[in-house]
């Protein structure tokens, strides 16, 4: 294949990766930014979203789009509820101590993983895409569903941005993020904000998982890579910056896709990872972050 089309293909692939990554990372960024805790189980909540999507879509017969849409609504709600319970039962009692939270969320990681293995099984299972339109370009074919993921993710990101910057809920969240003690003094129920943020973060991860599962599959170990990549995106973008998170997700998704055009794949991963690490070495606050506090 010629160079131009090859690059186009790599860019398209990169954008799909970016779209899913941006949503997952946004969830982590909210939790990380507002609550100042590292949720190691974030990837498992992502996995749970995918597994539930499989369960829901297989339970509903008829056109695949029905099952998929049901999953898109129900899976995030269930995951959000689980996160809410975990937050109330565990994280709150730990006073959001950053170190204790790491241990506790590692514990959750084990629990969720084991439950998925026991009740869902070790196999990778596919979910049928809501539609299977194949776009025929002059050089290659491309999945129409994949392009729709980019659109869906963009839509969700705009919605989140709207909520964060133009609504009262967003204001309360930003105030808590900026200074939780002062926020408390102004009568903001910080405790409830935390619970809401934790659930919302989990729901964003679950939505991303439902979107990706028709092109990937649900598997009980699928949570690790999204977790690590999300961490990277959140920090590179700059803690608490929605714009930074999106830019970093696009940057990482595209660089991963495009560098692979030029180098042998494993070498490409080495170079891409090293480049991103160097960004952080020379700009520790991230691309759009203010100096870390």
């Amino acid at each position: 294949m010629h160079f131009g089309p090859h690059l186009l293909l790599a860019a398209l692939e990169g954008l799909v990766t970016s779209a899913v990554l941006a949503l997952t990372a946004l969830g982590l960024s909210l939790v990380f930014g507002v609550m100042r805790v590292v949720n190691v189980a974030h990837g498992e909540l992502f996995m749970l979203g995918a597994v539930l999507a499989w369960a829901i879509s297989t339970a509903i017969s008829g056109h695949p789009a029905l099952g998929f849409l049901a999953a898109l609504v129900l899976a995030p709600l269930i995951v959000g509820l689980i996160a809410l319970v975990a937050e109330r039962l565990v994280l709150r009692r730990l006073n959001y101590n950053p170190e204790a939270t790491i241990v506790a969320t590692i514990g959750m990681l084990y629990i969720i993983q084991q439950l998925a293995l026991t009740f869902y099984g070790p196999e990778a299972r596919p979910v049928e895409a809501p539609f299977s339109y194949r776009i025929l370009l002059p050089w290659f074919g491309y999945s129409g569903y994949k392009l729709s993921i980019i659109a869906a993710s963009a839509l969700l990101l705009v919605a989140t941005w709207f909520v964060l910057t133009r609504t009262k809920i967003g204001l309360v969240m930003r105030a808590t993020q900026y200074d939780s003690e002062t926020a408390q003094a102004f009568g903001i129920p910080v405790d409830r904000v935390y619970a809401g943020v934790f659930a919302l973060g989990a729901m964003l991860a679950a939505v991303a998982a439902v979107l990706i599962v028709p092109i990937s599959q649900a598997h009980y170990l699928m949570g690790q890579d999204p977790l690590l990549l999300s961490f990277i995106v959140v920090i590179i973008g700059g803690l608490g910056s929605l714009r930074g998170t999106v830019v970093a997700a696009v940057l990482i998704g595209l660089s991963d896709g495009i560098i692979s055009v030029f180098f042998s794949p494993t070498l490409a991963k080495i170079i891409a990872t090293l480049l991103v690490a160097m960004v952080l070495v020379f700009r520790p606050q991230g691309l759009f972050g203010t100096a870390s506090r």
Partner: protein, 320 residues
């Protein structure tokens, strides 16, 4: 941290070492072997604790230091035919050098950025191991030949595959690192590290060069972890990329947090606890990760500062 008389602290540590020595005579064979392994990995945790506990730098990349030692020692034996002491030294040197380079770069950052930078460098290291599969054996790893794992001391030669030799080697390494940690913690340097953890700006204003102090801590920490990795390769005879994966960066963090960060004996307690929880529960159910997860959450709810950390806070203020 209340101050204790040095005698009390040293007595406790020597006591622990003597206890571990005595245990080698009474432990059933299986636990004897397991404890040897735990001691080697506790060294890994102690190395991690040096940076995380005392300087407050949370790294998610220490698997690279462990595997630098692992591969440094293992490949020196496999490809170069080096003797055990030379290979061990090679492992240490690899770890120290890597830690120096990583430290120079990563210490430009702090906090969460440090966490992510170290994680990414470790990922690069992991991928390089896969990339150089012709030498490293890639994901499958390599066996360090049993015939080469012999420690020649004068006229006697000790096979490192012998359980007793293995246990004693692990104990010697563990003891050296433990006492060294204690000495560092109690030294002036150790206090500077803690001062950096508590308030880096103030420490700087007091005239300390915090960067080089932190760099030294990264190198010491990395070298200790490499010592653990080198010992693992030589004592247990396998080098593989699994040990460089992110999972093995999270494990020492978990062990240290469980045992108690910034306690000298916490890393051992944490490693011991985690190993036995997995070992015992997996005997009862195949869904043992569930129980491990619940155990971790319960533990952290009741011992938020780790086992020894909480004990020190509540009862034994003098614990180092």
């Amino acid at each position: 941290m209340k101050e204790a008389s040095p005698a009390k602290a040293y007595a406790l540590h020597v006591g622990v070492i003597v206890l571990l020595f005595a245990l080698s005579f009474v432990l059933p064979e299986y636990h004897h072997g397991l404890l040897a392994r735990i001691m080697v990995l506790a060294v890994f945790a102690m190395g991690y604790n040096m940076l995380f506990g005392y300087v407050g730098l949370l790294s998610l990349g220490h698997a690279m230091f462990f595997s630098a030692g692992l591969y440094g020692a293992g490949l020196a034996v496999i490809h170069l035919g080096w003797s055990v002491p030379a290979a061990f030294a090679a492992g240490l040197a690899c770890g120290a050098l890597l830690a120096l380079v990583i430290g120079l770069l990563a210490l430009r950052t702090s906090g969460v950025a440090f966490m992510i930078v170290t994680m990414m460098f470790a990922q690069v290291f992991y991928l390089i191991i896969l990339y150089l599969a012709a030498w490293t054996g890639g994901d499958q790893g390599l066996v360090v030949p049993q015939s080469a794992r012999v420690l020649v001391l004068g006229s006697t030669s000790l096979g490192l595959t012998n359980p007793t030799v293995r246990y004693m080697s692990a104990l010697v390494l563990f003891s050296i690192v433990l006492l060294m940690t204690l000495a560092v913690v109690r030294s002036r340097y150790g206090r500077v590290l803690v001062a950096i953890r508590e308030n880096e700006e103030r420490t700087k204003m007091l005239g300390y060069d915090t960067f080089s102090n932190k760099l030294a801590a990264v190198v010491v920490s990395g070298t200790i972890c490499a010592a653990s990795g080198a010992a693992y390769a030589l004592l247990f005879g396998y080098v593989g990329s699994t040990f460089a994966s992110v999972q093995y960066s999270i494990l020492p963090l978990l062990w240290v947090l469980l045992g108690g960060a910034a306690t000298t004996l916490g890393p051992l307690i944490g490693t011991l606890f985690m190993y036995y929880v997995v070992d015992i529960t997996s005997g009862y159910t195949s869904a043992y990760l569930l129980i491990v997860g619940i155990a971790l959450i319960l533990l952290v709810l009741f011992f938020p500062k780790g086992i020894l950390g909480t004990i020190r806070q509540r009862w034994l203020g003098w614990l180092p």
